[in-house]
Amino acid sequence: MRLTIWGAFGSIVSPDRDKWRYGGNTACLEITHGDGRLVVDAGIGLVPFGDTLSRFPLGKGKGVLHLAFSHLHWDHIQGLPFFVPAFIPGNEFHFYGTDRHLLEECVEKLFRSTFSPVNGADKLGARIAYHELAGPADISGLAVRCAPLRHPDGATAFRIEAGGRAIVLAFDHEAGDDSFDRPLRELASGADVLVHDAQYDPADYPAHEGWGHSTWRDAVETALAARVKTLVLFHHDPDRSDAGLDEFGRKASAAAAGHGLEVLVARDRMVLDL
């Protein structure tokens, strides 16, 4: 099983010079196992992912893409209008969300003539099918389960399993409400990798309470409680520099030390092989 992080940042794409090591593209992750592939979220990170596909079936109008959405805020959808395989006739897209009608409405908005010269999602080359994802499902040979997260207007966590390995994606999420935290701990239980919202430092958090994001400390605590092997701090603030993210990594690693938990800080184009 392989996890590729194409976009590790939240809020808005932020190509700043002070964070070229970590990146600046918004949320997009790709999980593959054998021939199976599931992409989660379509932030600007979807664009560099699309750019790698030109020699593969999705670059030639013979591909199938499965794409699940944690939620529909801009930073999780905004790469879609610039995703090259969407314009190639013959491609087949399957989009998954908690409400397929809202998802479809949102995709149509992205391609509306007001915002896009494409002039309507019906003009795309790829055919898009919308699916509701709530309970357990098999998507492209990957077993997927979900849990709701605490975020304004809601978000969904995913547990993705294949070949005896498990990856859990938990963003956007504000820890601190047990009615969400408990199901998330259960979903993440014993996972090999937990990718968790860690937008803030505990010192920044009080000013951002209710914004729907966690701290690196929340992420460490959830990872320890769920006995996961590797924690990936994710959904970085666009104003956080490389130095700030290095510091998050050091602090979180120190908090996890002695508990057998490895902590990584997500970077654009990071690859983890399980």
């Binding site: 794409v13 932020s14 190509p15 805020h73 209008p81 809202l102 003539s113 896009s116 010269p117 207007d153």
Partner: protein
Amino acid sequence: MELTFYGARGSYPYMRPDNFGYGGNSTCLHLYTSSGTEFIFDGGSGIRPLGASMMGREFGRGEGEAVVLIGHTHWDHILGFPYFQPFSEAGNRFTFLSAGTLGTRFEDIFTALYHDLNFPIPVERLKASLEFRDVPERTELEWKDARLRTLKLNHPGTTLGWRIEADGAAVAVCTDCARPRKAVVTDGLGPVADYERDLAALCEGVDALIYDTHFFEHEIVGKEDWGHSTFEDAVRMGRECGVREVILFHHAPEHSDAQVDIKLAMARDVARHDAFTVSAAREGMRISMGKVHA
């Protein structure tokens, strides 16, 4: 008048380490007249760092005032608005001047950016005063010490080119626009000869001509209807209009710094016998024309 570039990239903003020289942020310009009148052109992702810098002065205290000129409303020109901090500060005043697009008013487009499906803060919770004025194409208006003029450009949807005059200097912002000889890509552009004459009048004698140079000549083949130009088009326009400086703008996201360097070198070569200079827009680039703000 002082002009600063906060985003020079076209189509979409994009983080890639080989484009830092010119920058990955999409369209956003800032203009300051000598008496302190402020204009922002478009709200691409470059408006986030612009907003952060504005918060360090009167906009951070709720005492700022600026006019936002809208070229058009494709994603790369508006996706930064929800992340512009000065909108959150009570007391700040913004006036948007836009033609909307295809019959939709700009205010409705702006409001859609804050829809609860896509963004956690509704537009009603923005504390700054926001006023929206419809400005059709071919409008001439005075704004404090500045004179403004618009013309519809050859780009899908409704796109305005703007001429801004103040302090005895003039700037023309012409992005996004295609050469009309190959394809007229917007409804209601009118006869091509009239459009070319009016576009030349908009850019006549400006100190800085900011012009769409998205494509190299070999890249535009088959994409003439995408509504973009080449550096040759920009140089030709500068020559016809007797400008002082041509600024290559709207760099393609897939072009690295090295490719933009090549575009600039080729444009300078084409313009080697011309009286104007050629530069390529890059984030942080600042140009002073005529009298400037103290």
